[in-house]
């Protein structure tokens, strides 16, 4: 489930185009300044920070263990106990503390999302650099390498990303690593293509021409100048992909391909389990579903603000 997010509006936000971009300020520093003043970025950053804090501090936030099902006696097919002094949000369908499940679920989402995106980013950046670098250096071998890599990327893109993840997870079998690898690999072609494209367009810049005129070796220009200058869109994409990865982790769980250990709290599986206690306890579905959406929203807002901040068009 790749969610391509277009920039909203056309970079017309006056907040982003004010005059602090004095000559000589680096692109990243100027972007940081713009980011700090963009309310969207701040909202996104707050959500992301809250999510990370909850995930890290889970054992401090709740006195109970996840997946303990200690109070399963209190859960009947028609009723699930709601909020009480001992249980902030009540119990879940199996008789564990719902708040504990949610808090520990954040942990799973964070780990899975970050590891999966890191896999996609690393492998995708490697492939993209290989293709983009080879194409920039040129020559028969360069063209050949570029072609080979991009055909591989084409093959991976020929299957929609969630379905690619599903098929990889199905081969790897049910274990926690399968989910991370599957979602990570499904992201590889996105990063590879993006980085190659941005390296090719950077390759046509004046500073590359200048470096060539100075007699620098092509390989050095590509690795030392073109690559670092092309990474911006990749970083933005990684932030946005964290949102996608967190949703896809839940989706794989939903399809029965997720984390198999029932003692581990996971938002996607909580949603599945909530389905047959719907009418009695809608909060069982609303809370984990809302948690996924809000987390994804945080990463999306932050990623979009980052994109706007890094866009040279917003720097006048």
């Amino acid at each position: 489930m790749t969610i391509p997010l277009p920039p909203s509006g056309a970079g017309t936000d006056p907040l982003l185009t004010t005059a602090d971009d004095a000559p000589g300020v680096s692109l990243w520093r100027a972007a940081w300044r713009r980011l700090r003043r963009n309310p969207t970025a701040i909202v996104g950053a707050v959500i992301v920070a809250a999510f990370i804090l909850v995930a890290l501090l889970a054992p401090l936030l709740t006195p109970y263990e996840p997946g303990s099902a200690r109070w399963s006696g209190q859960v009947t097919p028609t009723s699930v106990p709601g909020p009480s002094p001992e249980h902030l949000l009540g119990l879940d369908r199996f008789g564990s503390d719902l708040f504990t499940q949610l808090v520990y679920g954040a942990r799973q989402s964070l780990v899975y999302g970050v590891v999966a995106t890191a896999i996609g980013l690393t492998a995708g950046t490697a492939l993209g650099t290989l293709a983009g670098g080879a194409a920039s250096v040129g020559g028969r071998i360069g063209g050949w390498v570029d072609n080979a890599v991009m055909r591989l990327v084409d093959i991976m893109l020929s299957v929609p990303s969630l379905l690619l993840a599903v098929s990889i997870a199905a081969v790897l079998g049910q274990n926690p690593y399968a989910v991370m690898i599957a979602i990570g690999v499904a992201q590889v072609p996105i990063f590879a293509r993006l980085l190659r494209g941005s390296m090719l367009s950077q390759g046509r810049s004046d500073y590359v021409l200048a470096a060539e005129a100075l007699g620098l070796r092509k390989r050095r220009i590509v690795m030392g100048h073109v690559l670092p200058n092309s990474l911006g869109p990749t970083v933005v994409q990684a932030t946005l992909n964290l949102a996608v990865a967190i949703i896809e982790v839940a989706a794989l769980s939903f399809l029965g391909l997720g984390q198999p250990d029932p003692a581990v709290a996971e938002w996607g599986r909580m949603l599945v389990a909530a389905q047959d206690r719907f009418e009695a306890a809608p909060q069982l579905a609303l809370l984990p579903g809302g948690a996924i959406a809000i987390t994804a929203l945080g990463f999306t807002l932050f990623g979009e603000a980052l994109r706007e901040a890094l866009d040279p068009r917003s720097r006048r």
Partner: protein, 334 residues
């Protein structure tokens, strides 16, 4: 245009060949020997021997691959381990269900999304614009299956307004010719059957439509906002053209280019989303079929499914590219 289509079709070939190699290697990569993996827990020595015989696992690997491709070209996508039914037959039977759902969802997304995006761009910064933009953001980040569950809860369990499972009430003895149930009802003049199928479509298609809708709104808004800033729009306005002429001929026509591309890109999202939506609503399409195959580790079905989806996906993209040529004359020239 024909040459363009043929060239694009030719470009599909290496991708599909590559994918078929990967898919072939895929069943090989399953742990243990393939026959055992295919049979799962039901593996008996006789069963393994039979599978090895039927699938030719004893032959050299290159020969096996060639056989696999030969079978594919003959339309043999393998057989389900579970039911023994040819995989392609199941697709042909269930694909109309997914198309019915996907097309309805896409229509909803386009018919609602384009005007909303256009309105938002024309009224930037006003309350409704902010509302539409925030709403579309929410649509993008809400997982399809969560939304599906919510819709089910509200409209079926609480309000008891709409059916939440199946494509049609099984008590209706409807005749099916095309397996597009709404169309079938109209063709056979069983209007109650058509109506029932339509009512069953509402919740699943709304759930499936949200993400494409949100994306279409955002793209349309961005595209229209960009075109509105163009010199030719100002020129058109300043030479006194009526507002609706400018909107239709200059703004919409140019802004729709990226929108059409986006609509094409939604195909992948719809195919993925269909797996989740069909699962929640017990909708009898290829998505639910895939879900069941995952549950049973029915590898030939998974293998055939991925290839089938890749072909459909590539064909949709081809059609979108051709549509692009129709709308944008510049594409035709180059």
């Amino acid at each position: 245009m024909l040459r363009f289509a043929l060239r694009r079709l030719a470009l599909m070939v290496p991708v599909l060949v590559g994918l078929s190699i990967l898919l072939f290697a895929w069943v090989r990569a399953l742990p243990g020997d393939p026959a055992r993996a295919l049979l799962g827990q039901r593996a008996t020595p006789e069963g393994i021997a039979r599978v090895n015989e039927v699938y030719g696992f004893n032959e050299p690997i290159v020969q096996q691959y060639l056989k696999y491709v030969q079978a594919l070209l003959g339309g043999d996508f393998g057989r389900s381990i579970k039911t023994g039914q040819p995989v392609l037959d199941s697709f042909v039977e269930k694909f109309p269900g997914t198309v019915e759902l996907g097309v309805t969802a896409l229509l909803l997304a386009v018919v609602i999304g384009v005007p909303m995006g256009y309105y938002a761009a024309r009224h930037q910064g006003r309350f409704l614009d902010t509302f539409i933009v925030s709403g579309s953001l929410l649509g993008v980040v809400t997982p399809v299956f969560f939304l599906a569950i919510l819709l089910k809860l509200v409209f079926a369990n609480w309000l008891d307004l709409l059916p939440t499972s199946l494509r049609q009430d099984p008590r209706i003895d409807a005749t099916h010719i095309t397996n597009f149930y709404v169309l079938d009802g109209l063709l056979t003049r069983e209007y109650d059957a058509a109506w029932d199928a339509l009512v069953h479509l509402v919740l699943p298609s709304v759930a499936l439509a949200t993400i494409p809708l949100a994306i279409i709104v955002r793209i349309t808004r961005a595209a229209v906002a960009e075109v509105l800033n163009e010199d030719y729009v100002r020129t058109a306005e300043s030479k006194g053209l009526a507002g609706h002429v400018v909107s239709r001929r200059h703004v919409l026509r140019n802004a729709l280019l990226p929108v059409v591309t986006t609509i094409g890109l939604q195909a992948g999202l719809l195919l993925s989303g269909a797996v989740l939506t069909e699962t929640v609503f017990a909708w009898n399409g290829i998505g639910k079929f895939l879900f069941e195959a995952i549950g049973q580790r029915d590898y030939p079905v998974l293998q055939g499914y991925i290839l089938f989806i890749a072909i459909i996906y590539a064909l949709i993209n081809l059609v979108v590219d051709m549509a692009y040529g129709v709308i944008d004359p510049r594409v035709r020239v180059s």
